[in-house]
Protein backbone atom coordinates (compact mmCIF):
# COMPACT_ATOMS: atom_id res chain seq x y z
CA UNK A 1 0.00 0.00 0.00
CA UNK A 2 2.90 2.34 0.78
CA UNK A 3 4.25 1.75 -2.68
CA UNK A 4 0.90 2.53 -4.31
CA UNK A 5 0.41 5.84 -2.48
CA UNK A 6 4.05 6.83 -2.93
CA UNK A 7 4.05 6.12 -6.66
CA UNK A 8 0.76 7.97 -7.09
CA UNK A 9 2.20 11.08 -5.44
CA UNK A 10 5.56 10.76 -7.22
CA UNK A 11 3.80 10.25 -10.52
CA UNK A 12 1.68 13.33 -9.92
CA UNK A 13 4.70 15.53 -9.21
CA UNK A 14 6.52 14.12 -12.19
CA UNK A 15 3.54 14.52 -14.51
CA UNK A 16 3.19 18.16 -13.52
CA UNK A 17 6.87 18.87 -14.07
CA UNK A 18 6.94 16.91 -17.31
CA UNK A 19 3.99 18.85 -18.66
CA UNK A 20 5.59 22.16 -17.78
CA UNK A 21 8.99 21.27 -19.20
CA UNK A 22 7.99 19.09 -22.21
CA UNK A 23 10.38 16.47 -20.87
CA UNK A 24 10.90 13.43 -23.06
CA UNK A 25 13.41 10.68 -22.63
CA UNK A 26 13.86 9.84 -26.29
CA UNK A 27 13.16 13.30 -27.68
CA UNK A 28 16.51 14.55 -26.39
CA UNK A 29 18.49 12.21 -28.59
CA UNK A 30 16.12 12.76 -31.52
CA UNK A 31 16.37 16.54 -31.30
CA UNK A 32 20.13 16.38 -31.04
CA UNK A 33 20.42 14.20 -34.12
CA UNK A 34 17.95 16.32 -36.08
CA UNK A 35 18.72 19.91 -35.17
CA UNK A 36 21.49 19.77 -32.56
CA UNK A 37 19.11 21.06 -29.90
CA UNK A 38 20.30 20.10 -26.42
CA UNK A 39 17.37 21.26 -24.29
CA UNK A 40 15.79 17.81 -23.81
CA UNK A 41 19.13 16.01 -23.98
CA UNK A 42 20.30 17.92 -20.92
CA UNK A 43 17.23 16.66 -19.07
CA UNK A 44 18.13 13.09 -20.01
CA UNK A 45 21.74 13.54 -18.88
CA UNK A 46 20.62 15.20 -15.66
CA UNK A 47 18.35 12.22 -14.93
CA UNK A 48 21.12 9.67 -15.49
CA UNK A 49 23.79 11.54 -13.55
CA UNK A 50 21.51 12.36 -10.63
CA UNK A 51 20.34 8.77 -10.35
CA UNK A 52 23.95 7.57 -10.54
CA UNK A 53 24.83 9.81 -7.58
CA UNK A 54 21.59 9.20 -5.70
CA UNK A 55 21.79 5.39 -5.54
CA UNK A 56 24.94 5.33 -3.34
CA UNK A 57 23.59 8.27 -1.32
CA UNK A 58 20.36 6.39 -0.63
CA UNK A 59 22.37 3.40 0.54
CA UNK A 60 24.34 5.67 2.88
CA UNK A 61 21.10 7.23 4.14
CA UNK A 62 19.90 3.88 5.37
CA UNK A 63 18.06 2.27 2.47
CA UNK A 64 17.86 -1.52 2.74
CA UNK A 65 20.73 -3.17 0.94
CA UNK A 66 20.14 -3.94 -2.71
CA UNK A 67 19.81 -7.56 -3.66
CA UNK A 68 23.01 -8.74 -5.34
CA UNK A 69 22.76 -8.15 -9.06
CA UNK A 70 22.69 -11.56 -10.63
CA UNK A 71 25.10 -11.91 -13.49
CA UNK A 72 23.04 -11.58 -16.65
CA UNK A 73 23.46 -14.38 -19.15
CA UNK A 74 24.03 -13.72 -22.82
CA UNK A 75 20.41 -14.37 -23.77
CA UNK A 76 19.12 -11.79 -21.28
CA UNK A 77 21.55 -9.19 -22.59
CA UNK A 78 20.60 -9.90 -26.20
CA UNK A 79 16.90 -9.63 -25.36
CA UNK A 80 17.50 -6.40 -23.45
CA UNK A 81 19.44 -4.86 -26.31
CA UNK A 82 16.89 -5.92 -28.92
CA UNK A 83 13.99 -4.75 -26.76
CA UNK A 84 15.75 -1.47 -26.07
CA UNK A 85 16.33 -0.92 -29.77
CA UNK A 86 12.66 -1.54 -30.44
CA UNK A 87 11.65 0.88 -27.68
CA UNK A 88 13.86 3.61 -29.09
CA UNK A 89 12.96 3.10 -32.74
CA UNK A 90 9.20 2.90 -32.29
CA UNK A 91 9.13 5.67 -29.68
CA UNK A 92 10.65 8.02 -32.25
CA UNK A 93 7.98 7.01 -34.77
CA UNK A 94 5.30 7.52 -32.12
CA UNK A 95 6.74 10.95 -31.31
CA UNK A 96 7.83 10.53 -27.72
CA UNK A 97 8.73 8.18 -24.92
CA UNK A 98 5.92 6.51 -22.93
CA UNK A 99 5.99 9.23 -20.27
CA UNK A 100 5.69 11.95 -22.88
CA UNK A 101 2.75 10.10 -24.42
CA UNK A 102 1.00 10.04 -21.04
CA UNK A 103 1.54 13.80 -20.75
CA UNK A 104 0.34 14.46 -24.30
CA UNK A 105 -2.74 12.34 -23.72
CA UNK A 106 -3.49 14.37 -20.60
CA UNK A 107 -3.17 17.53 -22.73
CA UNK A 108 -5.88 16.24 -25.03
CA UNK A 109 -3.89 14.80 -27.94
CA UNK A 110 -6.17 12.07 -29.15
CA UNK A 111 -3.58 10.05 -31.04
CA UNK A 112 -1.68 9.79 -27.75
CA UNK A 113 -4.85 8.46 -26.16
CA UNK A 114 -4.89 5.82 -28.90
CA UNK A 115 -1.23 5.16 -28.09
CA UNK A 116 -2.11 4.63 -24.44
CA UNK A 117 -4.88 2.21 -25.37
CA UNK A 118 -2.36 0.23 -27.39
CA UNK A 119 0.17 0.57 -24.58
CA UNK A 120 -2.03 -1.01 -21.91
CA UNK A 121 -3.50 -3.51 -24.33
CA UNK A 122 0.07 -4.42 -25.25
CA UNK A 123 0.75 -5.47 -21.66
CA UNK A 124 -1.98 -8.10 -21.87
CA UNK A 125 -0.82 -9.05 -25.36
CA UNK A 126 2.70 -9.56 -24.04
CA UNK A 127 1.69 -11.97 -21.31
CA UNK A 128 -0.87 -13.78 -23.45
CA UNK A 129 1.05 -14.06 -26.73
CA UNK A 130 4.54 -12.58 -26.92
CA UNK A 131 6.09 -14.10 -23.79
CA UNK A 132 4.86 -17.69 -24.41
CA UNK A 133 5.95 -17.36 -28.03
CA UNK A 134 9.41 -16.17 -27.02
CA UNK A 135 9.72 -19.00 -24.52
CA UNK A 136 8.79 -21.55 -27.16
CA UNK A 137 11.24 -20.15 -29.70
CA UNK A 138 14.12 -19.81 -27.27
CA UNK A 139 13.68 -23.13 -25.47
Amino acid sequence: MTAAVATLVIGGILGYLAQRSRMCFVGGIRDFVLIRATYLLRGLAAFGLTAWVAFPLAAVAGAPAAAPLDAADALTIVLTVVGGFGVGYVSVLANGCPMRQHVLAAQGVKSSLAYLAGFFGGAVLFHMVTAPLLFRILE
Binding site: A3, A4, L8, I10, G11, G12, I13, L14, G15, Y16, L17, A18, S21, R22, F25, V26, R30, D31, I35, Y39, G43, A46, G48, L49, T50, A51, W52, A54, L57, A58, A63, P64, L69, A72, L79, T80, V82, G83, G84, V87, G88, Y89, S91, L93, A94, P98, M99, A105, A106, Q107, G108, K110, S111, Y115, G118, G121, G122, V124, H127, T130
Partner: protein, 197 residues
Protein backbone atom coordinates in the same frame (compact mmCIF):
# COMPACT_ATOMS: atom_id res chain seq x y z
CA UNK B 1 10.62 21.49 -44.80
CA UNK B 2 9.82 21.58 -41.13
CA UNK B 3 13.30 20.45 -40.26
CA UNK B 4 14.88 23.26 -42.27
CA UNK B 5 12.90 25.87 -40.39
CA UNK B 6 13.82 24.26 -37.12
CA UNK B 7 17.46 24.31 -38.03
CA UNK B 8 17.34 28.00 -38.68
CA UNK B 9 15.42 28.66 -35.50
CA UNK B 10 17.92 26.63 -33.49
CA UNK B 11 20.90 28.57 -34.76
CA UNK B 12 19.40 32.00 -34.48
CA UNK B 13 20.03 32.94 -30.90
CA UNK B 14 18.17 35.88 -29.56
CA UNK B 15 19.36 37.54 -26.39
CA UNK B 16 16.15 36.99 -24.48
CA UNK B 17 15.58 33.29 -24.97
CA UNK B 18 18.59 31.69 -26.52
CA UNK B 19 18.13 27.93 -26.32
CA UNK B 20 14.67 27.10 -25.20
CA UNK B 21 12.98 28.48 -28.19
CA UNK B 22 13.79 25.73 -30.60
CA UNK B 23 12.54 22.88 -28.48
CA UNK B 24 9.38 24.72 -27.53
CA UNK B 25 8.26 26.74 -30.45
CA UNK B 26 9.51 24.56 -33.21
CA UNK B 27 7.17 21.84 -34.31
CA UNK B 28 8.97 18.98 -35.93
CA UNK B 29 6.66 17.49 -38.44
CA UNK B 30 8.29 14.93 -40.62
CA UNK B 31 6.73 12.35 -42.87
CA UNK B 32 3.24 11.61 -41.68
CA UNK B 33 4.16 9.55 -38.68
CA UNK B 34 4.71 12.30 -36.16
CA UNK B 35 2.01 14.22 -34.38
CA UNK B 36 1.98 17.95 -34.12
CA UNK B 37 2.38 18.76 -30.48
CA UNK B 38 0.41 21.53 -28.84
CA UNK B 39 2.82 24.39 -28.39
CA UNK B 40 2.24 27.52 -26.39
CA UNK B 41 3.98 30.61 -27.59
CA UNK B 42 4.90 33.51 -25.41
CA UNK B 43 5.47 32.97 -21.74
CA UNK B 44 8.89 31.49 -20.97
CA UNK B 45 9.13 28.11 -19.31
CA UNK B 46 9.87 28.16 -15.62
CA UNK B 47 10.49 24.42 -15.35
CA UNK B 48 13.23 23.18 -17.64
CA UNK B 49 13.87 19.63 -18.74
CA UNK B 50 16.95 19.60 -16.53
CA UNK B 51 14.86 20.37 -13.45
CA UNK B 52 12.50 17.58 -14.39
CA UNK B 53 15.35 15.16 -14.96
CA UNK B 54 16.91 15.84 -11.57
CA UNK B 55 13.55 15.64 -9.78
CA UNK B 56 12.63 12.42 -11.58
CA UNK B 57 15.93 10.79 -10.64
CA UNK B 58 15.66 11.77 -6.96
CA UNK B 59 12.05 10.61 -6.78
CA UNK B 60 12.79 7.36 -8.61
CA UNK B 61 15.68 6.45 -6.31
CA UNK B 62 13.71 7.50 -3.22
CA UNK B 63 10.73 5.39 -4.30
CA UNK B 64 12.90 2.31 -4.55
CA UNK B 65 14.93 3.02 -1.42
CA UNK B 66 12.36 4.31 1.07
CA UNK B 67 8.86 3.61 -0.26
CA UNK B 68 8.98 -0.13 -0.82
CA UNK B 69 8.87 -0.02 -4.61
CA UNK B 70 11.10 -3.07 -4.77
CA UNK B 71 12.01 -5.77 -5.64
CA UNK B 72 13.22 -5.80 -8.39
CA UNK B 73 16.02 -3.30 -8.02
CA UNK B 74 15.87 0.12 -9.70
CA UNK B 75 12.12 -0.17 -10.06
CA UNK B 76 11.20 3.26 -8.75
CA UNK B 77 10.06 4.72 -12.04
CA UNK B 78 9.01 2.93 -15.21
CA UNK B 79 6.01 3.70 -17.34
CA UNK B 80 5.90 0.30 -19.04
CA UNK B 81 6.47 -1.99 -16.06
CA UNK B 82 4.24 0.00 -13.74
CA UNK B 83 1.54 0.16 -16.41
CA UNK B 84 1.85 -3.60 -16.88
CA UNK B 85 1.54 -4.12 -13.11
CA UNK B 86 -1.58 -1.97 -12.96
CA UNK B 87 -3.29 -3.67 -15.90
CA UNK B 88 -2.38 -7.21 -14.88
CA UNK B 89 -3.22 -6.68 -11.22
CA UNK B 90 -6.62 -5.26 -12.14
CA UNK B 91 -7.33 -8.16 -14.50
CA UNK B 92 -6.16 -10.67 -11.89
CA UNK B 93 -8.39 -9.13 -9.25
CA UNK B 94 -11.40 -8.71 -11.51
CA UNK B 95 -11.31 -11.76 -13.74
CA UNK B 96 -9.27 -14.19 -11.68
CA UNK B 97 -6.50 -14.51 -14.25
CA UNK B 98 -2.90 -15.18 -13.28
CA UNK B 99 -0.92 -12.66 -15.29
CA UNK B 100 2.55 -11.78 -14.05
CA UNK B 101 3.12 -8.74 -11.85
CA UNK B 102 6.32 -7.55 -10.20
CA UNK B 103 6.79 -8.47 -6.52
CA UNK B 104 6.44 -4.79 -5.59
CA UNK B 105 2.86 -4.83 -6.93
CA UNK B 106 1.62 -8.10 -5.48
CA UNK B 107 -0.54 -6.62 -2.72
CA UNK B 108 -1.58 -3.42 -4.44
CA UNK B 109 -0.34 -2.15 -7.81
CA UNK B 110 1.97 0.82 -8.24
CA UNK B 111 0.06 3.77 -9.67
CA UNK B 112 2.76 5.78 -11.44
CA UNK B 113 0.94 5.89 -14.76
CA UNK B 114 -2.24 7.27 -13.17
CA UNK B 115 -0.17 9.78 -11.21
CA UNK B 116 1.66 11.05 -14.28
CA UNK B 117 -1.57 11.33 -16.23
CA UNK B 118 -3.28 13.18 -13.37
CA UNK B 119 -0.36 15.50 -12.74
CA UNK B 120 -0.04 16.39 -16.39
CA UNK B 121 -3.80 16.92 -16.66
CA UNK B 122 -3.67 19.25 -13.66
CA UNK B 123 -0.78 21.21 -15.16
CA UNK B 124 -2.45 21.44 -18.57
CA UNK B 125 -5.75 22.62 -17.11
CA UNK B 126 -4.16 25.09 -14.70
CA UNK B 127 -2.04 26.65 -17.43
CA UNK B 128 -4.89 26.53 -19.96
CA UNK B 129 -2.99 24.28 -22.33
CA UNK B 130 -5.63 21.62 -22.49
CA UNK B 131 -7.46 21.27 -25.79
CA UNK B 132 -8.60 18.36 -27.86
CA UNK B 133 -6.35 17.52 -30.77
CA UNK B 134 -7.94 15.33 -33.39
CA UNK B 135 -6.15 12.07 -34.10
CA UNK B 136 -4.44 12.17 -37.43
CA UNK B 137 -3.88 8.47 -37.59
CA UNK B 138 -5.09 6.71 -34.47
CA UNK B 139 -4.50 3.17 -35.73
CA UNK B 140 -0.70 3.55 -36.17
CA UNK B 141 -0.54 5.24 -32.77
CA UNK B 142 -2.37 2.28 -31.25
CA UNK B 143 0.07 -0.12 -32.92
CA UNK B 144 3.08 1.94 -31.79
CA UNK B 145 1.81 1.78 -28.22
CA UNK B 146 1.44 -1.98 -28.33
CA UNK B 147 4.86 -2.46 -29.94
CA UNK B 148 6.61 -0.14 -27.48
CA UNK B 149 5.00 -1.93 -24.53
CA UNK B 150 6.04 -5.35 -25.84
CA UNK B 151 9.61 -4.24 -26.58
CA UNK B 152 9.84 -2.55 -23.20
CA UNK B 153 8.69 -5.68 -21.39
CA UNK B 154 11.18 -7.79 -23.36
CA UNK B 155 13.93 -5.35 -22.42
CA UNK B 156 12.72 -5.11 -18.83
CA UNK B 157 12.04 -1.39 -18.76
CA UNK B 158 10.92 1.60 -20.76
CA UNK B 159 13.38 4.31 -21.73
CA UNK B 160 13.30 5.69 -18.18
CA UNK B 161 13.97 2.46 -16.37
CA UNK B 162 16.71 1.38 -18.79
CA UNK B 163 18.62 4.52 -17.81
CA UNK B 164 17.75 3.99 -14.14
CA UNK B 165 19.11 0.46 -14.29
CA UNK B 166 22.28 1.72 -15.96
CA UNK B 167 22.68 4.29 -13.18
CA UNK B 168 22.23 1.51 -10.60
CA UNK B 169 25.18 -0.26 -12.17
CA UNK B 170 23.47 -3.09 -13.97
CA UNK B 171 25.30 -4.32 -17.05
CA UNK B 172 22.21 -5.53 -18.87
CA UNK B 173 20.52 -2.19 -18.23
CA UNK B 174 23.47 -0.33 -19.70
CA UNK B 175 23.45 -2.53 -22.78
CA UNK B 176 19.71 -2.01 -23.10
CA UNK B 177 20.14 1.74 -22.85
CA UNK B 178 22.80 1.62 -25.55
CA UNK B 179 20.39 -0.35 -27.69
CA UNK B 180 17.71 2.26 -27.06
CA UNK B 181 20.02 5.10 -28.09
CA UNK B 182 20.87 3.18 -31.25
CA UNK B 183 17.17 2.68 -31.89
CA UNK B 184 16.42 6.36 -31.44
CA UNK B 185 19.22 7.39 -33.79
CA UNK B 186 18.14 4.82 -36.37
CA UNK B 187 14.52 5.90 -36.10
CA UNK B 188 15.44 9.56 -36.45
CA UNK B 189 17.52 8.93 -39.55
CA UNK B 190 14.74 6.80 -40.98
CA UNK B 191 12.24 9.61 -40.38
CA UNK B 192 14.55 12.15 -42.00
CA UNK B 193 15.19 9.87 -44.95
CA UNK B 194 11.50 9.17 -45.48
CA UNK B 195 10.69 12.88 -45.18
CA UNK B 196 13.27 13.88 -47.77
CA UNK B 197 12.21 11.24 -50.24
Amino acid sequence: MGAAQCKGAGRRRSASRPLRKDSRNCVIQMADTTTVEPVTIGRPLRVTAMHTGVAAAVLAVAAGAFFEVRPPEAYGLCMACHGRDLVNWTLNAGLGTHLAVAPASLVFPVLTTIGVFGGALLAAVLRREFRWWMPERPVPSFAYGAIVMNCALIAGGCSIRLLLRSAAGETAGLMGFAGMVAGVVAGTYWLRWSASR
